[in-house]
Symmetry: C2
Subunit: 173 residues, 2 copies
Amino acid sequence: MPELAIRNLFARRSIRQFKDAPVTPEQVTLLLQAAMAAPSAGNRKPWHFVVVRDAVTRARIAASHPYCKMATAAPVVLVPCGDPGLSFADRPAFWVQDLAAATENILLAALGLGLGAVWCGVYPNEERVADARQFLHLPPEIIPFAYVPIGVPAEEKEARTQYDADRVRFERW
Amino acid sequence: MPELAIRNLFARRSIRQFKDAPVTPEQVTLLLQAAMAAPSAGNRKPWHFVVVRDAVTRARIAASHPYCKMATAAPVVLVPCGDPGLSFADRPAFWVQDLAAATENILLAALGLGLGAVWCGVYPNEERVADARQFLHLPPEIIPFAYVPIGVPAEEKEARTQYDADRVRFERW
């Protein structure tokens, strides 16, 4: 059923309102399995994930990030983190792209599970990185990449592409 | 059918061997619709896409990138490009993550259409960026992000996650 797979990409929308309803440990595991199914440069998988349920930590996240207030309402916040030391020594900068692919997979998997999620960027904002490092007790070599609040959606958004033919060139610019 | 959506994430594998079979313009449009359905920081959509079918350009791509030899066999190579000037002035660096999410969507959409694809990183490798800029006549402000050869798969790979429980922490590191 190829078309469903594409419709799912269109149906992924940023969900910022959540019901007072749980996300189960089994769902979290599926979300992380989806994240770790992402491609990475040389398949080096330069990632770690922190699963935050604690309300105090979620409140700190919300207070430290201007667009992540919904972390207080979401029962779980996933925090993908980069570990550049796991990338190839000659091309460590690819870790950012690898983490972004894993994060997109989390958003898509959340949708697939009937959950909603939103990607709140942390890296490369230095203040946000420093704050997250403190809350989560991250070692210096581990870089917090994003906050992904996840819960049962309390808002509905229509599927869409934002396709713009002006952004497409053929053969050359 | 939520589970199918997640199985699709597991089924996405890097496909590097292609049949001598076409990718239609309609399929390319769907792939680009999927790309442009990706999230981006502040929804700034800092992307452009070059659709390369020309065999000479594909041969140049293959010659300039050590892991993109299959560009000669794939009937089409999509080239997502970043345009940092379209991002917020105070956070232009997020364009890399936005492009990575769009690229992951292309890979997933290809699978959904019965096609295969592989993500060959270009940015931030300076030589690869310079080469692509030359082949594709990109303006100086446009940054070639990746090559994505796409075609009808001539290899099969099993669905998988590379889930590793050692990469998961709860509440804090």
